[in-house]
């Protein structure tokens, strides 16, 4: 049974007629054609599908579209503002913090979410929250460097 669900997506109000039990990840990736959020495990174990809902990082493979009704969803596509990359994105590029790139949207969104909620977070605190984000190419060292740089920038130092 379809229902109308309203929420804010990357700053825009939207209204969707959709089966409310469907997974947020797949509604994003198919109905809304926002394919930046990735499927990596489907069980909340890899972080590739991470998006922010009301500024909190959630694994979109574990949430229904119903659960975001009336809320604000931010995906990787919404991070850059008017073509201007977000500090976390910039730091990932500058530190060469990626290989195949498949895990990267989830990494970037999660790191941004932590820093957004607490700009004072140390990089260790950010990384603690990122323990769920897996990267098989093992770009960890560079990702850590990128996050350190982004954290610094977002703290304004």
């Amino acid at each position: 049974m379809k229902e109308t669900i309203q929420f804010k997506l990357n700053g825009q109000a939207i209204e969707l007629s959709v089966d409310p039990g469907r997974q947020l990840l797949w509604v994003l990736r198919t109905d809304l054609e926002l394919t930046g959020s990735k499927y990596g495990c489907g069980k909340g174990l890899c972080g590739a599908c991470t998006v922010l809902v009301d500024k909190q990082a959630v694994r979109s493979c574990r949430h229904s579209i119903r659960s975001v009704a009336g809320k604000e969803v931010l995906t990787i596509e919404g991070l850059a503002q008017k073509g201007e990359l977000n500090p976390v994105q910039r730091a990932f590029i500058e530190h060469d913090a990626l290989q195949c790139g498949f895990c990267i949207p989830g990494m970037v969104v999660n790191a941004y979410g932590v820093l957004l909620n607490n700009p004072r977070s140390s990089s260790e605190q950010v990384l603690k929250q990122m323990e769920v984000n897996l990267c098989r190419c093992a770009a960890h060292k560079r990702i850590v460097q990128a996050i350190e740089a982004a954290a610094k920038e977002m703290r304004g130092v």
Binding site: C46, I93, Q99
Partner: protein, 727 residues
């Protein structure tokens, strides 16, 4: 699970096995008429390249195609002056989209950003066997450079005519040709209206020198921006009008036979299409999550044979079922060497099945049409897929086009294209484009694991500390990395089977190439054993190795890592937790030093530091190479400490990352890398070598910390505790 073209797979596997020495395919060609093809490329300057054959001929002969030419890569400078490189290779994280472009940019004196790479598109790129970690730069670097040099020569010729200046008074810079008088003319102006095609002969490629101005300077990845914004497209991100997503019925075990299927409940669901074609039962829907839900309504019964084969009993099974051995290296006589030995050590090393587990599961979208079938696939072997898809559809290969978007990790696991062939079958059945994207459980189930393997070594040292004999037998891992490079008068290396295919009495499921195939297993065994000999001889493990090494490259790389680590010689176990290991892969020499901390109560090993030195010849993109080395070290910690597939018979018990544990942030050691600066040497592989030493360097560090020796990978806390209790 198996493709039916055995001969091709054999050739393919054989090539992997032999470290790709034979890979350059003399018969490789472009599947269309040269003229058509050049037309397709458009105007401008086109340089066609064939790669010189390396080693004996062993190309996969392709059926159903008359091969007019032997093209491997080409380069175009378009009418707008834009440089485009075309190769059948694919980008899966190894960074070749950057390193290949960098070679073109530097040779042609243009900005890296302006070079475009077209990769893994079977209609636009020349035939290619497949992309495997370490070989692209090695085999494609020189030809691309030679092509760029040729293109530059053509540009200079054109400019000489236009400016009426002799060629030797012209130089190129910033995408233009300049003369001494300060006049310049851009590549775009020069190529406008031109239609020049040159074919490079082999000789030109072979003669390409390795002096290049910006080679050696780091280049940031060309694909970084699209990958941080979510714009980068992977196979699962491609959308076609009317497409359906498929969920496929899977057996609970590789040995299971389906006895009954009932799809009636699924058929009743709105918008659900059901396909039942023999072994292929699938439900399809406009939305993937609804297809997955509908699959739950499919009822099936399976016949399941009993089996007690599991991750612990597999090694006996491997020994029993291995084929006859092949002696791959031999010198002196073992008996004589054993007589001369004062200390003899005999040991058996075990290595379990390891998954590739790329973050992107196998995915493909197929659009089967009468005129032309298009497949977007997550694959390391687009041309092989094109041929298998054509065969499956019963059409000529030119009726199939495979496009390879970015691939989300491969590591040797995305070569058999099962998911894409499923998508082809389903698309044909429903007459719409169909996406097959494996779930993580399917990914674990159909992975072609690194084979479980056994290595038996008997070796000894003379009173002087010189290794006097080396008797090495490896079962089911394969040859790569089995040849030892120490200076040992009496030695023999026997390889029993490559272990790459399940067969009667063989592996209970698919196995295959895993990053640096066979070499992780062989290097773990060899370097652990060398370490034991050193300890028994009462010598520092680096000194012991150097004493027994004549090979200059190996000595140099070992000395480099020792220097970087500021190594102070002590005999092991010293309690410091420092270990060393060396190895050779894909022509590259590596040496690692690690530092670990072992929790004696829990058995948990924390790796504090890994230093890795690499001699990879000329290094085209040091930034990329470093990234690969760091990745190898970190990824290697997985097979070293936790990764092992648990199973009963053909049933795989690990289906996700909760039980199959791969390295994550909290594991990250300090990683330092040293790349030897060797501008004069040919470029060697860089994507895999640094992973081969990780097992041994950690095992040797654990020994140095505790005196406990581990003989089985992964070295889980339980196994570490057990080894500690055996001291």
């Amino acid at each position: 699970m198996k493709d039916n073209s055995h001969s091709e797979i054999d050739v393919f596997d054989a090539c992997l096995e032999r470290n790709f020495q034979d890979i350059a395919n003399p018969e490789a060609a472009f599947p269309m008429d040269r003229r058509d093809f050049v037309k397709l490329l458009g105007a401008g300057i086109v340089i066609l390249v064939s790669i010189p054959r390396l080693g004996a001929q062993q190309g996969g002969r392709r059926r159903g195609q008359q091969l007019p030419d032997d093209l491997n890569a080409f380069l175009r400078i378009g009418e707008d002056g834009k440089v485009t490189g075309f190769t059948g290779k694919i980008e899966m994280g190894q960074g070749i989209v950057t390193s290949l472009a960098q070679m073109l940019a530097e040779q042609l004196d243009v900005e890296l950003d302006t070079v475009e790479m077209v990769m893994g598109d079977t209609d636009r790129c020349p035939w290619d066997m497949g992309t495997f970690g370490s070989m692209t730069t090695r085999f494609f670097g020189p030809p691309f450079r030679a092509a760029a040099a040729e293109a530059k020569a053509v540009l200079v010729e054109l400019a000489a005519e236009r400016l009426s200046v002799p060629r030797d008074q012209l130089r190129t810079a910033n995408g233009a040709v300049h003369d001494h008088a300060g006049r310049s003319i851009t590549y775009g102006e020069l190529t406008k209206g031109q239609r020049i095609v040159r074919k490079l002969d082999r000789k030109a490629v072979e003669d390409t020198p390795s002096e290049f101005t910006i080679t050696g300077k780091p280049a940031l990845r060309k694909d970084a921006k699209v990958k941080v914004t979510g714009e980068a497209l992977y196979a699962g991100d491609i959308r076609r009008p009317g497409m359906l997503y498929a969920s496929i019925l899977r057996p609970p075990s590789h040995a299971a036979k389906v006895t009954r299927v009932d799809t009636s409940a699924a058929r009743k669901q709105e918008g659900v299409h059901v396909v039942e074609q023999g072994d292929l039962v699938a439900v399809l829907h406009e939305y993937p999550d609804i297809a997955a839900r509908a699959l739950k309504a499919v009822k099936a019964d399976f016949d399941l044979p009993e089996s007690d084969l599991n991750q612990d009993t597999i090694f006996e099974h491997v020994l029993r079922s291995s084929p006859a051995g092949e002696t791959v290296a031999q010198g002196g006589t073992l008996a004589e060497g054993e007589q001369a030995a004062e200390q003899v050590i005999e040991a058996t090393y075990l290595d379990g099945y390891v998954a590739h587990a790329p973050m992107e599961p196998h995915t493909a979208l197929a659009d089967v049409q009468r005129e032309k079938t298009t497949i977007w696939a997550s694959t390391q072997t687009p041309f092989r897929l094109k041929e298998s898809a054509a065969r499956q559809l019963g059409v000529l290969p030119e009726k199939v086009r495979v496009i390879t978007p970015f691939v989300g990790g491969g590591f040797g696991g995305k070569t058999s294209n099962r998911q894409a062939l499923e998508a082809v079958r389903l698309s044909k059945a429903v007459g719409k484009p169909v996406q097959v994207a494996w779930t993580r459980a399917e990914e674990f189930f159909y992975d072609t694991f690194r084979p479980a393997a056994v290595v038996k070594i008997k070796a000894g040292t003379a009173a002087s500390g010189a290794i006097s004999f080396w008797d090495y037998r490896v079962y089911s891992a394969g040859q790569r990395g089995s040849e030892q490079y120490y200076d040992i008068p009496h030695h023999k290396t026997v390889v029993y089977g490559s272990g790459w295919r399940a067969g009667d009495g063989g592996h209970p499921f698919g196995t295959g190439a895993w990053r640096a195939p066979a070499n992780n297993t062989n290097t773990f065994a060899r370097e652990s054993h060398i370490d034991m000999l050193a300890a028994r001889a009462g010598l520092d493990p680096i000194e012991f190795r150097l004493q027994n090494l004549k090979d200059k490259r190996m000595r140099r790389v070992l000395e480099a890592v020792a220097e970087k680590a500021n190594w102070k010689p002590v005999k092991s176990p010293s309690g410091r937790g420092f270990g060393v290991a060396t190895g050779i892969d894909a022509g590259t020499y590596v040496a690692h030093i690690a530092e670990v901390q072992v929790n004696r109560r829990t058995g948990k090993v924390q790796v504090k530091r890994v230093i890795c030195a690499q001699d990879m010849g000329l290094c085209v993109n040091p930034a990329g190479a470093e990234l690969q080395m760091e990745g190898c070290v970190m990824m290697g910690l997985g097979y070293t400490l936790t990764e092992e597939i648990r199973f009963t018979g053909g049933a795989i018990h690990d289906s996700n990352f909760d039980t199959y544990k791969i390295p994550r942030f909290s594991w990250l050691p300090e990683i330092e890398t040293v790349i030897l600066d060797l501008k004069e040497d040919p470029a060697q592989g860089g994507g895999e070598p640094a992973i081969i030493c990780v097992g041994a360097v950690i095992a040797n560090s654990i020994f140095d910390a505790t005196g406990a020796r581990l003989f089985r990978l992964p070295m889980t806390p339980e196994r570490v505790k057990e080894a500690l209790s055996n001291i």
